[in-house]
Symmetry: none
Subunit: 77 residues, 2 copies
DNA sequence: TCTCATTTGTTCGTATGTATC
DNA sequence: AGATACATACGAACAAATGAG
């Protein structure tokens, strides 16, 4: 899935994949996303998975709860 | 005991120390090993102690019982 | 039965060192 | 030089299960 040799850095590739899954409804609001799951599924380092999630967070697509995980959707006010 | 500056990561150093103690009979079968004891004795983080125990578990030298601790020896079938 | 302490399991936050491009 | 990646580490917080009393 992730091509470490391409011009696009892995963390952005991963962010894109997740963004598309969210848009497609494959990851509906409320879905929990765990960093360690991403490292396994996409074979990237935790840092890389975190950076990808940071992108989605900046996009407002997910929110993260320390010690719990990240969730698809808008952060509860 | 543990040298955090060396080329060998602390979790492997700790795994080695424990492995040797087991082999030497200093930690006979049935001996209970608690993560928090390791963090104190070797001054490592709990996660580091856990990683060391994971190594020993993979080696089949110990088994772990959730909420109870790890024990030297083969897991009860 | 209930409550409490203990202990492992899980997970994020953050930092560092090394390597690669 | 800078951005990126991986491995590792420490810290913190919370969940869940067990066992003692």
């Amino acid at each position: 899935m992730i091509d470490p040799t391409g011009p696009v850095p892995p963390y952005r590739q991963l962010a894109k994949i997740l963004r598309e899954r969210i848009r497609a409804g494959e990851l509906p609001p409320g879905t929990r996303i765990v960093e360690s799951d991403l490292t396994e599924e996409f074979e990237v380092a935790r840092n890389t998975a975190r950076r990808a999630l940071a992108v989605l967070r900046d996009d407002g697509l997910i929110f993260t709860v320390p010690t719990r995980g990240s969730y698809v959707g808008k952060p509860p006010k």
